[in-house]
Amino acid sequence: MVAKRIIPCLDVKEGRTVKGVNFVGLQDVGDAVELGRMYAAQGADELVYLDISATHEGRNTFTSLVERIARGINIPFTVGGGISSIDDAARLLDVGADKISINSAAVRRPQLIDEIASKYGSQFVVLAIDAKMVDGRWLITTHGGRRLTPRELFEWAREGQERGAGEILLTSMEHDGTRSGYPCDLFARLSQQLSIPIIASGGAGSADDIAEVLSAGRADAALAASIFHYGDITVKELKQMLHDRGIKVRL
């Protein structure tokens, strides 16, 4: 059996990593390549770099950063943020990104998933979904949670899989940055409906939360930022703890 993956997420602005609580109040936590290398040495299974300056300036800075990351890091990494065309995807692939994550642009134009997947393969496409509970239904949001759409989460995730996404990265906007735990029932329900791997994101406040989403939540991987960036627990300590609880991880 494949091991459950632990994926630190690094938000990048102007080549530096930052992490905000609910995306407000950014706090600089270091150099993107060095931080990534540190996580890799601790046993991180993959890394995700999100360019939060992508919609404004700084896109070129990010591209050259991705090139440096690809040279310096020997584990897989995903890049995301502001990817809205096959050209954006190609530019990041060319400098060495292993996968790209697409979000708002795919909601706006779902064929983007087909286009990138058919040209570069499903393994290159992570469909990121930011979901919010509204009147008892999980709906999709875009633009970092600021815009609510009428699209229903489960239907969109299934469509994404059919169109060729290789993985789903699901964030509950109710929980993101709050460190109050993942909505495990949501992840378990989605996992039953899809055959592609699901990465759980948003809300990890403790090692217990991560253990729960990987077991009861049936997620294939857990992505977290704050608990690693603020030094609550190292990736190594977390994985040892998961191992002790009988969850298969790479030690």
Partner: protein
């Protein structure tokens, strides 16, 4: 000099970066003469098997690769193309390894996902390629199709069914996983490949 075969199947960058990290000389080429003269040959590849096979044939490289006598390492699709046949696109491949490539079957109840993405352990290691690498070591996989376990298998892994994680016949080697993305274990394997006579 290592020749990294360029047949237009996506990203070669990560393989080049990994070779650079271990300090070896390489060139990226589709030139039959350069490939033939190289000390070692790497056949990378991502994407879809039948179109990758077609690109290899279009460039006249299928017969070139079959005829190589120096150590050759196929990675992921590169390894699958060295098998007999791939179910992906129903394509006859190079027929170097005595194995067919078949799709994984997802099994939600048992948590078997397709694509098989992530770190999995490899067992029954039997090759100088794995010198210094422990039984059960974790390596990084990304694929939906896999070669059956056969006499050429030099490592096995499990995703729902047991499959060949690496193959070898004569001077030809293949890994289904990505050594260029498998951390220190992957770098050790690439170093071992450079030492093979």
């Amino acid at each position: 000099m290592i020749a990294i075969v360029d047949y237009d199947t996506g990203n070669l960058r990560s393989v080049c970066n990994a070779i650079e990290r271990i300090g070896a000389e390489y060139c990226v080429t589709s030139d039959a003469a350069i490939i033939g003269a190289a000390e070692r040959v790497l056949l990378p590849g991502v994407g879809e098997a039948s179109s990758a096979m077609e690109k290899l044939r279009e460039r006249g490289l299928a017969e070139v690769i079959k005829g190589l006598t120096q150590p050759v390492l196929g990675i992921c699709i590169g390894m699958q193309l060295m098998c007999r046949y791939s179910e992906e696109g129903g394509v006859d491949c190079l027929g170097i390894f005595d194995a067919d490539v078949r799709r994984f079957t997802p099994d939600r109840g048992r948590g078997v996902k397709v694509p098989h993405i992530g770190w999995n352990s490899i067992e029954n290691l039997r090759s100088p390629l794995f010198e210094g690498i422990d039984e059960g070591a974790f390596v990084y996989f990304v694929h939906s199709y896999a070669a059956d376990v056969c006499a050429d298998a030099i490592a096995c892994s499990i995703n729902g069914r047991r499959f060949a994680a690496a193959l070898c016949r004569g001077n030809f080697y293949g890994t289904q996983f990505h050594p260029e993305k498998s951390g220190d274990v992957g770098e050790a394997l690439l170093r071992n490949f450079l030492k093979i006579e």
